[in-house]
Each structure stands twice: as structure tokens, then as C-alpha cells.
Amino acid sequence: MPNSETMAGTSAAHSEAMIGLYDVHKSFGPLEVLKGISFEVPRGGVVALIGPSGSGKSTILRCVNLLETPNAGTIKVGAQTLAFSKRHRLPGDRRLADFRARTGMVFQSFNLFPHKSVIENVMAGPLIVKRMARDEARAIAERLLARVGLAEKAEAAPARLSGGQRQRVAIARAMAMEPDVMLFDEPTSALDPELVAEVLAVIRGLADDNMTMLLATHEMAFARDVADRVVFMRDGVVVEDGPARQVIETPQHPATQAFLAHFHRR
């Protein structure tokens, strides 16, 4: 009964959670990728999702900001809650956009806008979505670029940056919308090893500022040190969910032990 403990500690009223997933199901054609996922991230909390490739980590993140539409279940971000079932229609374009605007997302492959300069990438959300004045958006973008250590790259084209620099721009771009929560989909998996640390340092800085975060990662040491809780997934179900240090260092479930043994051996 791997699912039984996952609801432990979550309140039925969904009140304090900044991110909540409640019995979320998602299928792609005949393939069920998420088989009833439930967990919460409290305000200011950091939860790391770990598990083998194809276990459903990315799909969870994409469901939280509705890049994928769950087939069933409830998604909550901040004050917004959306329920999905066969009878519920997909929310309209405007509702979806509003929902996502409160949810920052950072992708494995950065996905910067190549036709815009670094600072224009960061300004895109405030300018286009919030219709902010240019000066104001620029001030926000300059502050965020300084924070991720890229103030001097403001006018550069994304193609001229290293992977680590691109990912830091992507983080600044998501933060520019002043989101309620931040989602990270394996943010360092596409990076050369020597570039991983600079990106993790930025994410750690956000955690220190009490940003609510949900992070899919293969960086076990980082998950242990920065996350409050670690959720281990396999085959579309939550196998183990507990305090970060406990799950990483003394996993209870055999599947978690087997998965982590692979990392400890390295």
C-alpha cells in the first residue's frame, strides 16, 4: 500500500498548502503516467521529487501549471483550485493563462526565447502578460539578473551563453512574474557537470528566501540539503514521502533503497 502514507499530514481542507495535488490521474493514450498522486507543499516549503526516468516526475510538474491537463483529480496553487474529471471541461485560455502566471516554471532544456536578448527574455512576462510599463519591467529584470549573477549579460543573445547561464536566465524569467510557487523540471540535467553548481546555488538562494518550490531532480545531495521533504516516485505512484534527510539516507521502502543505492555507489 505505497499510497497510504502519502496523505498523512495533509489536511482535508487543503487550507495551508501552497501547492496541492489530490488524487491526480493522467494518461497519454492507453498509458497511465500518473496513477492517483496526492501530496502538498506548504507555504515556503521545498519538496524534491526523485525517481527513475519515466516515473512521472515531469508530468506532475506539467500538471501543476496545467501544461498538461489531468484526466482526474484536483490541482491547487496558492488561492486557485481546479478540479478535473470527465465532466469538467478544460478551463478557457484566459483562466489557464492566469493560473500559469502565478506558477513559475524552469525547464530542463531552458527554453529561452532565442529571438530576444537576455533582458528581454526576463521582461517578456511582465511586459506581455502583466502589460507593465517598459521602465518598470526593465528595473525588475535588472534586479533579477543581478541576483542570478548575470547583470553584465543583459544585452547578450541567449545563444552566446553557457548552459548554466541560460538556466539562470530562465530562473530570472520565471521569477519576474513574482509567482506564488516555483517548479523546476530537472533544471541541471542538461548541464555539463562543472555548470551544475552555479544553478543549484541560485535555487538554494530562492529556498533561503522562503520561496515555495517543487523540484524534480537527480541531485540527491542537493535534495537532501535544500528540500524539506523528498517524494520518491516510481511508475506513476508515490512510493515514499518523508523528511528529506530520512528518505535520502535511511529510505524505508525497498524500491527507494534500490534507487538510491545506485547514487550512493557513485
Binding site: R100, A101, F107, N111, H115, G125, I128, A170, A174, A176
Partner: protein, 224 residues
Amino acid sequence: MSGVSYHWDFSFLWGYRTVLLTGLAYTMAYTVGTILLGLVIGLVAGLMRMSRNPFIRGPAFAYIEIFRCTPLLVQIVWFYYAFPILIGIEMSATTAAVLVLSLYTGSFYAEIFRGGILSLELGQWDAARAVGMRQGQLMRHIILPQAVRRMMPPFINQSVIQLKNTSLVSTIAVTDLLYQGMLITAATYRPLEVYTLIAAIYFVVLFPLTALGQYVENRLRYAE
């Protein structure tokens, strides 16, 4: 051996310079006008064809394939003679010509737009949606600006073809460059000189355009 002994004489054409320039002006006006109209039609039809809704996608698909898969000359004749009878209205040669040329090139532009948009990585859609852009915003600010750059070479190519295609409207007595040439031929009985000059005029107008297309293509290749 009469072809060899033919005495070429282009000098009389100078007297027809205004007639030819008028024809060239018509050709250019039809080209530019129908390219602009075709771009609007092509953008709308191209986006419609990518819709998930079959009632939006279906008509766009039908329009694009009907116009791509029938000869332009047949379309011109059909729209000038058959279409007005079908819907019971008068249609001038000008209207029919503009309508058909725009719809015809629009069907090709639609596929160029679609190809340019589909060539972008899906991550661009994800990233734009993730910051909260609505469908129209992400198309206008993120997708189309990138797609248009990739579309430039096929767009220039199709526009070169479009300029040449305008010559077909001479069949319904629109006074384009070729039609003026036919008039001069009828008056002078010197088709060899007339059509040689007409071909030369088309070439002089189009060669810089194809050179521009090559230049843009090379520049884009370096930019990527």
C-alpha cells in the same frame, strides 16, 4: 531557313513604351496587392489548419488543398465565368483576378506559415505558456517572430512565382504586361520582338528578387 533570315528589329517598340509601362504597372500592382491579401489569407488559413477543432481545421484543409491541387489557369477561368453564374452576381475581370490570385497564393502561404511554425521547438510553447501568455500573445510575441524568419526563403520563392503567375490574368483581358504585349503583337504582327522584350522585362524585375532570396537564405544559415 526563314528563321535564320528573320530580320530582328526592336526599334518600333519604343513607340509602345507607355503601353508596356502601363502593363508593367498593372503586373506589379496585382503582384504586390495579391501577395499582401494572400499573406493575410495564408496566415488565417495556416493557423486554422493547425486548430484542434475539426470544424475549424476542416474548411482550412479543404481550401488549401483545392487551390493547391488545381491549375491556376483553370481557377481564373472558372471564377470569371462559372462562379458569377453560381452565386448570381456580376464580377469584373479585375475582381475575379484579384480574388483568384490572392486565394491561390494564400493557399501556398498557408503551408509556408504552418511549416515555419511547426519547425519551432515545442519548448517555446511551453515556456511562453508557463509565464502566463495566452494563445494570441504567445503567437504574436514568441512563435510568429521566430517562424517568420524561417519562412523568408520559401516566402520570397513563392512571391517570385506569384509575379509570373499574374501573367495568366491576361486570358480574361486584364491589362497586365503580357496582355499589353498581346495587343502590341496584334497591331504590329511582330510577336518575336514583343515576347522577347516581355520576357526580358520579367527577368529584369525578378532576378534581383531571387538574388535577395539567396542572400536572405545565406544570412539565416549563418545566424542559426
